[in-house]
């Protein structure tokens, strides 16, 4: 069923519309507009419906960390709830490991959640009447795993998130950061293939947030889950993502790598986000590399994965094209120092 080419998640023409009789309204609106998403959405709004997710199309590859970013009200939380089927989805297709989950039976969904899905919530969603260990073991408990076995597994994930010694505490006795560690541990208890994180770090202090982001990257480096990660923080998105989808008013306006988003925003809305970002810290040399072989005499030692800031520091005094090497030390292209400077220029609007 799962082969290397099947994306972990694939959304096609996914719609989530709120309002009485939304299913029919969506079909009507689409047929009236000739399947034009923007027109259909405007049509739905006019009739008092709320198209919270409009015609979303994207794929999440195996082991990819896919970030959905947008401001509050942009539909990102709705979108992740569609994919995890906490909301039914009004139209379109969601394929998880190749199987359409929209319209799947309750039993099939429960089974899917028990085996393949894990989710972390913004406000943690911990069960107040259970200890840390019981919270973490709960997804195993509902499957009927024996107490000893499930607590042993819980202990493993609790160590993974660094909460040893707090197993018998209740959620109310923990700090915000610790609570979210419990949330993360619980979502990993069944060792799911697909991991949903709904603004997991937004409710935390900046310092704790950074700490948890780093640990999250560490965990992901070993577990290699397929991840859908929601955030409203561009810095966080750029730091974590393999690819980012930017949402606005229910529409995905751009999907791309962090470098794409920073250097090649498709419109003013996306540009507005990347404006505050220190581009040099996120964009990589590869993004301005040319496929030329004419170079100057100097070789400051640039590599493809170097950030623009680092590269610029190496080329401060240079004006002629320089070579770029890959991880193995082979020269793969050329960078013009002027391109570096130009890419870093903040556009004035």
């Amino acid at each position: 069923m799962t082969d290397a080419n099947t994306p972990a998640i694939a959304c096609q023409n996914l719609w989530q519309v709120f309002g009485q009789g939304a299913d029919k309204a969506l079909t009507d609106a689409l047929s009236r507009s000739g399947n034009d998403a923007d027109q259909a959405a405007a049509d739905l709004r006019e009739h008092g419906f709320i198209p919270a997710v409009q015609d979303a199309n994207f794929e999440v590859k195996e082991g990819e960390l896919f970030v959905i970013m947008g401001l509050s009200g942009s539909g990102k939380s709705t979108l992740i709830r569609c994919i995890s089927q906490l909301l039914p989805g009004t139209g379109g297709e969601i394929r998880v490991d190749g199987e359409n989950v929209i319209g799947a039976s309750k039993k099939a969904l429960t089974e899917l959640r028990r085996k393949k899905l894990g989710m972390v919530f913004q406000h943690f969603g911990l069960f107040p009447h259970m200890t840390v260990a019981e919270n973490v073991a709960y997804p195993l408990r509902v499957q009927g795993v024996g107490k000893k076995e499930r607590l042993a597994r819980a202990q493993e994930v609790i160590s993974l998130v660094g909460l040893e010694g707090r197993e018998d505490s209740f959620p109310r006795q923990l700090s915000g950061g610790q609570r979210q560690r419990v949330g993360i541990a619980r979502s990993l208890a069944v060792n799911p293939d697909i991991w949903f994180l709904d603004e997991p770090f937004s409710a935390l202090d900046p310092l704790i947030r950074r700490q948890l982001q780093d640990e999250f990257l560490r965990i992901q480096a070993t577990l290699k889950k397929s991840i859908v990660f929601i955030t409203h923080d561009i810095q966080e998105a750029l730091k974590l993502a393999d690819r980012i989808a930017i949402m606005r008013d229910g529409k995905i306006v751009q999907i791309g790598t962090p470098t794409d988003i920073v250097l090649r925003p498709v419109d003013d809305y996306v540009r507005e986000f990347s404006k505050d970002v220190a581009k040099g810290q996120h964009a990589k040399v590869a993004s301005v590399m040319r496929d030329e072989s004419e170079r100057g005499p100097d070789d400051p030692g640039l590599t493809t994965s170097m950030t623009l800031d680092a590269a610029l520091a190496h080329c401060m005094e240079l004006y002629e094209p320089v070579p770029v090497r890959d991880e193995n030390g082979n020269i793969v292209g050329t960078v013009h120092p002027s391109d570096l400077a130009a890419a870093l220029q903040v556009e004035e609007t």
Binding site: L86, F127, H129, R141, V142, R186, F196
Partner: protein, 688 residues
Amino acid sequence: MTAVADIPAQPVSRLTIGAKAALITVIVGAICLALEGVAPWLVKWPTTWELPATQWVGAFLDWFLNGIKPAMRLFSDLMAYPMNWANFVLGNTPWPILIGLVTALGWFLGGLPMAALGFFGLCFVLASGYWAESMNTLALVAVSVPVALIVGGAIGILANEVPRVKSFVQAVLDVMQTVPTFAYLTPLLLLFGFGPVVGLIASAIYAAPPMARNVMLGLERVEPEIKEAAIMSGGTRFQQLFQVEIPAAATQIMVGVNQCLMAALSMVIIAAVIGGFNDIGWEVLLTMRKAQFGESLMAGLVIVVFAVVIDRMSGTLATERKRYDQRVVWAVLGFTVLFTAAFWAWLPNPSELTLLDPMAEAVDSGLTAFTQANGPWLDALKNNSLFYVLLPLRIGLDQAVLPFTWGFQWTAGMSFGLFAAGAVVAALMAWRGHLTGGLVVLILIGMLETGISNLPWPFVLTGAAALSYAAGGWRLAALSVGLLCTILVSGLWERALLSLYLSGAAVFSCAAAGGLIGLASAVWSPVWKVVRPVCDMLQTIPLFVFLIPVLMVFQIGEFSAFLAICAYAIVPMIRYTRHGLVNTPEEMMEAAISSGATEWQIMRDVRAPYAAPTILLGLNQTILYAFAMLVIAALIGTTGLGQSIYLALGQADVGLGISAGAAMAILALVADRIVQGFAEEQRKALGL
């Protein structure tokens, strides 16, 4: 983002909704007064126009109740088993063991304070000599509460699971809250006959709604992310509900358990009126009828002790619990068993204990001495309140002012003068820009002159409609008029007005006094330190017990009923007023202080407006409380619907009982909706 929607055009007329409503009411009232001589039907709804609704209701209910009677009789026979069993167990358990159990339970729930409360509470009961009666009452509660908890919990869960049922259940619960307690009893009486089972079932019915309400509320308030986490963990609906949602809602559900217990106890005692069988409620009633107030007070105190013990102990369930050393529990139990075994032969029969009899006698004689010594003063208080306040409110100045009481005879000229003065005041106020206020003054003067029980029906209907319209628009106005019209045509109108008068007077007094006490408690915390335990106490005491002290001092009559109602209904007004005033956001206070406002200006301009919606909710509760107490107060002499319900109970007249109960519920419901409408409007205006 789309542009902001167009702002609707302002109405052209300069009159506000309130002014328009008041103006129409004034005009209708004036017409009715002017045409009184020509068309008396405009004032008093003619008897010939009345429909025999009461009989119809009675006939229908008789038919219906007879239909389900066999099933219900079977049910009551079944219920008799657990009840007899509980009676047997509680009645035959040696008293030291019961005291030990309650003390141990108190320790387990709340440590030393609760253990002490349980111990001394039960010791008081033991010393009073009402041990056997108390155990009978307790047996009723012990059987009715589990029934109420299961039924209420099931209804709450059902409403939560099936959204379509939810609004229906909510509506039924709302109505059940407003239907007076005695009204339940009449049909039950028909179904089950006299006896303790009626009390059992009545108390189960009465105690189930708070449980259902709190279960619904608790489940609704579980954080959505917790529910989602349960779904994402792969739980089935059953697992989600019972492993996550219900435990997560435990605190709120425990509030329900507490309210359920208190309601059951309250109703078990009220039910003594019909099914008296040697329980503590019956004892109160009996001694009250025999005017043995000392003993009646003693029995009343026993009830209060039970109420306090049950309330405080079950209240700890709803707060975060500490873990108390369980060894103490075992130690206490062990000690009591040893004690009982060792002193078995010497244990006194609790019924023969008369330790507190001297106290009862002292109270009796002290009371007699007190009323004799202060007789003139108390009589003056009672008579002045009756003749100069209550009576004019009831039948109007034109009838209440007699040479016998006021020293002169009311004349048409005086009426004219009063109205003229009112018109001048109203005109002055209108000129200063307070047109609505002026019109309201005119309306109030009209009501005072005519008397509430003599108000022309078109005026009452228009007034209710106008108020409803101002509070909640056309739909509420239609609802109010529709409901009130059913009372009008069913021939209960006059009694309804009488009830309206007494509860109105009580609500008005409670609003004024309670508001002031609440204000004082808010600005000066020592006052609250005194007022708070009094409020706690008044809210814990079962309704019935309020009658004892007022009876002791003022005997049977309307004034006593009025006082009993006030004592019970004033609490929410105090609480909500204080709560609203105290909870002004800190930032708003700081903003006002830094603007240089004085204490008084802050109170008037910041705190009072901010508290207004909360205070209105308090008023709303006060109204509902007053109606609830009105029926109980019928036991000691009120006229109106309460009396009808009580009479119906005595004659087993289901039609009258249910109709009068429904009329009472309608009055309460209409008042409730109007006040809530105003509160909602205030909240919206403040953007809350």
